[in-house]
Symmetry: C2
Subunit: 136 residues, 2 copies
DNA sequence: AAGTTTATGCAACTGAGTTGCAAACTAATC
DNA sequence: GATTAGTTTGCAACTCAGTTGCATAAACTT
């Protein structure tokens, strides 16, 4: 998996077997997945290793985390060049029927006029509703 | 506490001693508080009762909850007439220094153009950064 | 090869949120 | 005022996500 390795090394992450595997799984996903979801994609796996792998990936901005209020943080790949700055962030969508969490990568988070002397470092915007698949 | 009672009854919540007490504490707060925060305002209290009180308050839209990603949901009073519809919602702010969560009641959540056939029921928008008190 | 750093696996713990159940309390009916 | 029915409260116990410590294994450094 040369391609996978490159993605890891370009983010300064040492490409171990575990990490390649996790990155490949993340790449396959159409929606954001939680640590538990990830764990279940392995037959035998250690929760803590996966946990630390996700932490590393997030620190290095290979993935971003989404707190959609369901109780489990979800993760999804960042775009190649993403540095997760406030201007680069996108809206997320939680479907209340299928419980899937989508990256609305094309929808940037609108900028906000904060009160004076408040400064932004990060923004989490989660829209909840019904997705197109679940629309009756 | 006639005023407190009125607020409760107007939202169809039976005014018990516990509920009056909790509502009074919530009314005093300048920022949103968590269940644990609330618990610590009592000398002797039962976490579960407070938990259920907050749940009831939220169901009846006397308060709204804020998931600011700190691991503990915060709560704050709604405005008198609030029905917590998407158009009525406001932005929240988490200060990464003092960890306080503010209701930016004057800043409505901007409306978003969702992909076709996606519908909104609720939105959570939390801006993280440094508040005016913590600005160095 | 020996030594150093980094990653992994297992056990154990924390803390938020939640449920079940019995006792206490309230409101309604006789 | 006693009887009943419905609601609220308090306590115990549990779930589950997230986290830490530590010992082993693997990967780099000299
Ligand atoms: Mn995303
Ligand atoms: Mn608020
Ligand atoms: Zn759906
Ligand atoms: Zn602050």
């Amino acid at each position: 998996m040369k391609d996978t390795d490159d993605k890891l090394t370009s983010r300064n992450i040492k490409p171990t077997a575990m990490r390649e595997l996790v990155l490949d799984i993340l790449t396959e996903q159409k929606m954001a997945i939680s640590l538990s979801d990830l764990e279940q994609k392995f037959h035998k796996s250690d929760r803590v290793t996966l946990y630390r792998t996700l932490k590393t990936f997030e620190e290095k901005k290979l993935i971003h985390s989404i707190d959609d209020g369901t109780g489990a943080v979800k993760y999804a790949l960042c775009k190649e060049t993403c540095q997760c700055h406030p201007e680069e962030l996108h809206v997320h969508f939680l479907c209340l029927k299928c419980q899937h969490t989508f990256c609305l990568s094309d929808i940037p988070i609108p900028s906000i006029n904060l009160p004076v002397n408040f400064s932004v470092e990060n923004i989490n915007m989660v829209v909840k509703g019904v997705c197109s698949n679940c629309k009756d």
